[in-house]
Symmetry: C2
Subunit: 300 residues, 2 copies
């Protein structure tokens, strides 16, 4: 049993999927949900994702041995401040935010309990939001990255690691700055690019670009349908790393633009061939690692 | 009957899918394939895509009343030159290339037959290539854009329009420069962005960025698995329009970068919200237009 009483702060796609997955694994006792939207919390109870909910933060974590924060980054400041002094002495706290430096800064508000806070980030999700989209198995065969700091207690890290392993995740630990840079490259940058493409097209000839957009565009911009508030918060939390990724990417685009200006077919062909080869390899490695069937979980 | 004897120059994904679709519609008599790769042509016969093949261009078009060029853009110059003087006096020629100014320039090599050449572009495809991936129904409910010039005979345009309509396409006509700009925005630009993202990531920390890339990245870069030779040719054929699109897009990225530098959450939220709203509307319009089931044809 990972937890006798688990409190999920923010019962959306990720928090809800974690609760569902832990329950299906028989890894937790009571699951308490906390949030501001009682309609969503009632739905979570109806769906069997949580047992009950509280709208008072202290009541929500009372008696909990494990607390998972799955709220947007910006909301975490208030949550950490509200939790300070109200956690059991062995209660472990973790989160699922995708910009760890920012979260760790905020978590210092926990005071004494900061040593039992384990920064975490499951690399899984869909463009959908809300508990209605929560599914058991979302994290299976996906990486979860933990970024403990010097103060973090080893026992707390071990417990959070076990939690993720019970829902099938592959757990790795790394330095938080390294995490933030990797995520800027592989997740935050692609989201910026997708939002920017829709933004650019919308400023062209009215409806026409969208009318003739084909399947490639549909896939390319799927992530532009992600939650704008979450993405604003990620931008504000991981701005410098995202700007670094944007700069590197724009240098690449500038190189392609020069190749176009020069009519340099050889350079373009090499760029496209290398990219195709690398992407095809990525896909076959991914399929081997995830299993074909599981693959659908994140791509739908 | 659209054609008594149809010749497909280049029996790959598009040429093969057109042949299959026309046959299934009972819209053509004999289908002759032409290409350089006899292995591929034999496969096309085995798959029932074509009745027979020729590796001599003149033999391939002998007696054909309709000729469809579905070869990479760069190969078209030689094909047009080779066809000059060897087409029947009523034979109509069309193509499926995605950069029309370049194709029309090349088509002038047809000489007298240029007036019966109808530049065309079906907005459909997958990242797969080759006749093995050819499917009947690929063009159903998709746009096909025709870009006739002043010299183009109306009767030839009408005939090519009927051909595409028989395979279920929605046919529109527009000015060729307009076509090339729209395609640069909606197709060529996204492909550059996907190739560039894989290129950028491959120059980072070795394997790591790819290891942690999630589902969004997979979808985003699907089009980076497209045929590099085809894309080099499109770049060389439509360079100025693609550079125009790249410039507009990089201006958008630069704006997002400034918002990040300023920590301007309001501007970022507006950008992301507008993009999400526009993209969600695009998707629902697309699903309404295509029918859910049909949608799968281009997105897989």
């Amino acid at each position: 049993m990972i937890s006798q009483r688990l409190t999920i702060i923010g019962v959306g796609l990720i928090g809800g999927s974690l609760a569902r997955s832990l329950r299906d694994a028989g890894a937790c006792g009571e699951v308490v949900g906390y949030g501001r939207d009682t309609g969503n919390l009632k739905l979570a109870v109806d769906l069997g994702v949580i047992d009950r909910f509280e709208t008072d933060l202290r009541a929500a974590v009372f008696g909990a041995d494990l607390v998972v924060l799955a709220v947007p980054l910006k909301a975490m400041d208030d949550i950490f401040a509200g939790l300070a002094g109200h956690l059991g002495r062995d209660t472990v706290v973790t989160d699922v935010g995708s910009a760890k430096a920012r979260v760790v800064d905020a978590a210092r508000r926990l005071g004494d309990a900061f040593t039992r806070f384990v920064p975490g980030h499951p690399i899984a999700g869909t463009e959908k939001t809300g508990v209605g989209a929560a599914i058991s198995g979302l994290f299976e065969r996906h990486y979860t990255i933990l970024t403990p700091v010097d103060e973090t207690e080893e026992g707390a890290v071990a417990r959070v690691r076990r939690m993720w392993e019970r829902v099938g995740a592959k757990v790795v630990s790394m330095d938080l700055e390294h995490h933030d840079r990797i995520l800027a490259d592989t997740s935050h940058l692609p989201h910026m690019l997708a939002f920017a493409l829709v933004d650019y097209l919308a400023r062209q000839d009215g409806e026409e670009p969208f009318r003739y957009a084909a399947g490639g565009f549909t896939d390319f911009t799927r992530i532009a349908s992600s939650d704008p508030v979450m993405w604003r918060d990620i931008c504000l939390a991981n701005g410098p790393a995202i700007r670094g990724a944007l700069k590197g990417y724009m240098d690449t685009l500038a190189r392609i633009d020069r190749n176009l200006a020069d009519g340099d077919g050889e350079a373009l062909l090499k760029c496209f061939s290398d990219a195709k080869q690398r992407r095809d390899r990525f896909l076959s490695e991914r399929e081997a690692a995830m299993g074909k069937a599981q693959n659908g979980v994140t791509t739908k």
